[in-house]
Symmetry: C2
């Protein structure tokens, strides 16, 4: 199997100012064409470190990517390091300059052309992939059969360069194995128990099928990856293995094709022609965001309310003030009335509510940080649950609760 | 300055299934005590690779972290690699086992104790930091003055181990330089122009103060990092440099203390005792999520509506159906009416709206993917703007628009 090494260049990643999402995107794209990322090196904007890391990467892999270090400001020295490593000179490319000019003109930003003209400087032996969403082009280089791509650091520039230009290029240049992946999502079984239950199945897997456990919240994703000549045969083999797995794990399997819980929900709602709405308090909009992050969600997602202030739960969701007085705003009774009010407001088949204390300060009624009640109404059936997650920071809490709520809706729908 | 190397172990990161957020968190924490991360290596669950990467890291740094590879399932071999590298044996720790037992008992999960007992196996010479939010403990090792920490991979287990145990430990063990960082946020000046404008200021910076450019959306964050003996002196020096910078950049500076735009907004709203509400369409809840991600946001954020379905814009936000008919739902007129309706519903000083097409499919009225109108109402003053972002994928689009809207509210408030 062909391998790749990714090199992320940038003090802003090492200092913790920016999370590196490019590596994740590139790895996912490469996996689809059967190229396996074996290492990711994140290094500073330092010329000699870039050169030594390029040297190491060329010893290890068939494909090398660098991201970052191509902007117009002083801390960017990637191109100089490339020139040193490839023993080549930097030249001014009229083609890149012309593209840059047209790019800026179209955006009424021709006035910054002169400030950006260094972007037109590339290695003399480099092939260039033009950047249609930014100013730094991608250089393509080859040495001893290893291909190397220099990418900018901005994620929305990286994505189209990789998807539209680099992946087709690699497909044409390399003779690639096929890789097929399937993910089986299992809920409510701890990883350690699951691993014991499926041990004999796992040991019997053919050599070219690999299994990984990916725990996320209260779910475990089992990832099966197969590599070989024939995509069709690999698909069949994975299907066969999954069919053997289903009777072992049973009802705890919620999906065998899709990976993301919000996508699994979307497919279920589409299949069953159901609509959904959301009323959130402690999740602050994250639950709506999660559901609407899926393309086509406007078919089933009608709307949401973030009723942060208590009086808005009364005004808009028609929660009874007496219920709040008696049980406090973070209570199963309020969660239940919020879901009911939400269902009436949006007129949906399913309505959800969350009410809790994301922290770090206590809520107005003194409930412990990390407490959350949530209600799922499907038609007239209602399920209210409680979570206590004092160990999670605010944003992690909002994410965890939203993931768990969506997971529970899926579980409930599957059992119906 | 003391340095650190982070080693992320896990096929799930390399395959693109999981984004590594641990490295970012650890880097941020280390920066605060003056330890600089010089490299991050992401490597597979492979014993010999782990050993060779540990060897390299020990040559490079004063502190080494590994994350991942400590779970109870088969693909985890980090501990074996540790034993090889440290030429030590793995022993069963009664202390860790007892903690594990108590941990599981408290969570009514004692039934999985036997399946997890391997978590009590540690290196004989390791000091152990107990994990209060998961089953795998952290091993602490030292060789030739370099400290090494083996952490689990789950972010909410990593965070408290680092924050509550490792950072205090390192502070006590290492004699550390102080590091002070300030971020100056600049809007509406392209990075290349900004860099030219401040060039002479930048060249005059003292040696121990470093400058980085961190572009994010239409904002550039200038990060100044100073290191030295006296924290107080460093603070003064940075303040002096920033005071020199302000007259050069002028009104385009929106903050000199805070980094996150949602935090800057929160402080402004708190200072001026203003409340805010949100009505979103194409941002799907992300705008509410962004604002509520800040601790204490319940003081100023009253609530939000995700009016995804067109009729909900009419029902709840009182948008005139004739406006939709005449101008389509993605129009400045609808954005304006949404903001007005939102302000009336939530009775807030500021109300915002977004309406657009996140894609990838066209909206129902045929507007181009990537088009968005947004209105910011402050009291009775209203500003409506348009963005066209066809290059962004759905989730990136939702993020970009939300960031830009919050940035614009800040700009408008500062000018008031």
């Amino acid at each position: 199997m062909k391998t790749a090494v990714l090199i992320t260049i940038g003090d802003e990643i090492l200092s913790g100012n920016t999370v590196d999402t490019n590596s994740n995107f590139i790895a996912t794209q490469l996996k689809e064409i059967g190229v396996k990322v074996t290492s990711i090196f994140t290094i500073p904007d330092d010329e000699s470190t870039i050169v030594s890391t390029l040297t190491k990467a060329f010893e290890m892999a068939d494909v090398v990517f660098t991201t970052g270090g191509l902007g117009p400001t002083k801390d960017d020295i990637t191109k100089k390091a490339y020139a040193e490593f490839f023993e080549d000179e930097l030249i001014f490319s009229d083609k890149v300059y012309e593209h840059l000019r047209a790019y800026l003109e179209k955006r009424n930003r021709l006035w910054i052309l002169e400030h950006n003209k260094e972007q037109a400087i590339v290695l003399s032996e480099a092939e260039v992939f033009l950047n249609y969403f930014g100013t730094a082009p991608c250089m393509v280089l080859e040495r001893n059969g290893t291909f190397c791509f220099s990418l900018p650091g901005v994620p929305y520039e990286v994505k189209p360069l990789v998807k539209d230009q680099i992946i087709p290029f690699l497909k044409a240049k390399l003779s690639l194995d096929h890789i097929v992946t399937r993910i089986v999502s299992v809920v409510d079984v701890p990883e350690s128990i699951l691993s014991e239950n499926i041990e004999s199945w796992e040991l019997a897997l053919p050599e070219h099928i690999a299994l990984s456990y990916l725990p996320i919240g209260t779910r475990v994703k089992l990832r099966l990856t197969a590599s070989g000549d024939s995509q069709e045969k690999l698909n069949q083999e994975l299907e066969t293995e999954i069919q053997k797995l289903i009777p072992i794990i049973g009802d705890n399997i919620i999906a065998t094709h899709e990976d993301k819980i919000e996508k699994i929900l979307g497919e279920l709602l589409n299949d069953r022609k159901l609509t959904i709405s959301v009323s959130e308090s402690c999740t602050g909009g994250e639950l709506s965001r999660l559901i609407t992050s899926i393309t086509g969600s406007s078919k089933y997602f009608i709307g949401g309310i973030v009723s942060y202030a208590t009086e808005k739960k009364v005004d808009i969701l028609k929660v009874n003030p007496k219920t709040i007085e008696e049980f406090t705003v973070v209570s199963e009774q309020v969660a239940s009335e919020m879901a009911k009010g939400c269902q009436e407001l949006f007129k949906t088949d399913i309505a959800i509510s969350t009410t809790g204390v994301a922290g770090p300060g206590k809520g107005e009624d003194g409930k412990d940080v990390g407490t959350v009640y949530y209600t799922i109404r499907i038609g007239n059936d209602e399920t209210t649950s409680k979570l206590f997650l004092p160990h999670l920071e605010r944003i992690d809490f909002m994410n965890f609760v939203s993931q768990k709520v969506v997971q529970d809706i899926v579980s409930l729908l599957i059992k119906k």
